[in-house]
Amino acid sequence: MPTLSQFLSQAFNGIALGSLLALIACGLTIILGTLGVLNFAHGAMFMLGAYVAFVVLSHVDSFAAALALGALALLFFGLVIERGLIRFYYDRPHEDQILVTFGLGIMMVEAVRHVFGGESQRVPIPSWGRGIVNLHFFYYPLYRVETIGIATLILLGFYLLLYRTRIGLVVRAGIEDPLMVELLGTHVRRAFMVVFSLGTMAAGSAGVIYAPLAAIIPNMGEAFLVQCFVVVVIGGLGSFPGAIVGGIIVGEILSLTTLINPAYAEAAIYAVMTLVLIVRPRGLLGAVGRA
């Protein structure tokens, strides 16, 4: 039997992992909800963010610079990809969109592998994140607490952007009914460009935060992509709050199952996903009648 402090520290790990998953999945889900495109390259975007952090931190010792540059780089990269590739796919079948982003993801992973090599790289924990913190019941690595904080702040930023600004209103309306927004005189397609870039930025910033937590390798995004699919299915397709709730749920399942038997951690999230599909196919917070 695990002790209480073991349980609590794993539960905390679950929140840390869950907040990262929520951040990646919210990018995936706003792209999916607004553009209708399931971005299979989203895991590669996450990976790219981690490598930007690796490059920046090997030159300057400033995590803030890494985070800012990582987010900006992915914002710009998303912009280029949307203008150069994705926008030609809006009127094509979903299957084609999946195929092209899948191919794009492979190219990104292979390009990074070519430049940085296939072996894993270490990114140092920022100086203010080293050490442990006393949480009364147990001691916990400081950086993981900060991970939760940073991810929450970025998610809060996304929340304010989506729910408190004009562009957010357009995006949320676009999730409901893109055609209607277009008819009301707002150029949804222009909003698409912004949404795609913001979505990749979310993945990229998650990559930067994640980088010091574990070793980074070119295909690290794949596992996160699949876990994000599970998050989106559980939380509800295209739902921003659903991505956050789903992210925390998946993070907790992964961490707490590890406590009992690590071999079943991954299997457990798919079991829960299957359960959601049977009991509530639209997901916990998904709207009725989508996809």
Partner: protein, 614 residues
Amino acid sequence: MAEVRQGVVRWLPELLVVLTLAMLPFPCDALFGSVDILTRILIWGIFGLGFDLLFGFTGLLSFGQAAFYGCGGFVTAYLLTSGDLSNVWLAMGAGIAAAAAFSIIVGILALRRIGIYFAMITLAFGELAYFLENSPLARWTGGENGMPGVPAPHLEIGSFDFSFAGSWASYELVAACFFLGFVFARLVVKSPVGIVLTAVRQNALRTAALGHDVHGYKLAVFVLAAIFAGGSGALLGVFQGYMPPDAFALQTSGQLVIQTVVGGVGTLIGPTIGAAVWLLLRELLQQLPVLGDLWLFILGLVFVTLVTVLPKGIVGAAVRLGSHSPFAQPKPFTMHRSGERMDVAGQALLAPAPIAIAPDRKPAELAIDVCNVSKAYGGIHAVAGVSLALPPGRFHAIIGPNGAGKSTLLRLLNREESPDSGRILLHGIDITAADVTTAHQYGLAKSFQINQLFPQLTVRQNLRIGALGRQRGPLRLDVFRSADGFRSVELLVVALLDQLGLTGCADLGVNSLPYGEKRRLELGLALASRPSVLLLDEPLAGLSPGEREGIKHLIRDLRCGRTIVLVEHDMDAVFELAERITVLHEGRKLAEGTPQEISGNRKVREAYLGRMAA
């Protein structure tokens, strides 16, 4: 002589495959020093045959095929290495059966959703299988080490014993399996099942509305794809003597998708071509200093480019080049109108088919009996407590201003949507809870307001799909029959083509038809099942006055005693055709009566023109 030539043409793809399989190993052996690479290509090719049926023909993009590939391979390998089974053929059969059983579970869950969701769920199940293999089941599967020591099969007939060990023998075994798989896949494509699968991809709603159990066919093709996957996985283990754990990995599913798209979806041979491109490119590029490291990047680039500009892949492009060559003769587009009244034989062919009702039941007095049905969307009561009682053979029209609930009522009748309350009886059978497919099997058909056709098929194939629904029942896996092999269906299609005036363009793609012809075909699709109750949702919408006359004649000529419910805005047509008319207004029944009664009704005029005008 002609028969021989016809046979050659009919079996040309099979002949070409046999010849290629027989010839190719020699240059391959000379070039690479072994035929192993060809064996690997063919194992991927078998895997791809099933996937092409699933994705290329039915349009279901699965990212979890590795689950069934690995399942087939590992079950076979386990049975052989554990000593539970010494017969390799039996073990391979068990592996395939395990893959099929697994696919039924995954299919039932994944096929609840389409498109994006389907891709995500299959991918997740693929990963689930990978993790199960890797740790909880590692005791049996060897986990990350895989399973070495898988024996090669051998064939014993009396004293003759041939072992399929070694490069050449393995190639012979895999090539034989590939050929059998190819022949079988081709049979499936040419069978009624194949044409229904194609129909599902192009318009699932219409396929269901024509009496085909779409979900059942999807599950069938999903399991079929898993059988191919399991078989190829089993062959991989037997060929290598080792079952690698990455058979289960996402990369395997991804590689299959890429190979299929690069080679050409919907071509059967495409995935094999794609596999050849993948394996040869890797083999060749890896020998170059700089590019070797980038081979997968280059493949990704090729893939993205092909998806963007050549959706049908290499094989599709080759076929298109062939059809654009000066040797290919374009089919002329000729219009043909029968214009003549249908003869007695045609009448008999197109008359309503008898409905299968239990013999002890006496025929119902009403063809359609709608009791107090309601349907609301949010706060809008589209249909509110409408009843309708139509005796057999009645020509009944439903009119009303825009938004009166006419089309909603038809959708409820056709069982595309379910009423919130009320009951719907068809020939005395309660169909309130039935789905659109079942309703169609009971003799109900609808001509849609917006054309619901199969755009990439010919006019003849469209009508055939319509006629096959009730001929074969909702779900039948008659893969050894030819889709055009039902004599009564073909006669019906010819008679229908003649009546619709579409004989001249019978073998043209529906895409190339003008709107008026498409509208006729829409009506023809509804008639192809010889329904006893026909629902017509604005059949005249968008047509020129001349075309309207044509459709009106068709409706009259092809009535053959059916019960007809017509929703239409063209009042001249309604008052000319209908025996009785129901007027709907804001979801409620405003009036019902003969055309004379309705035209004199004060309330009706108010509803249409406002109180002042009345």
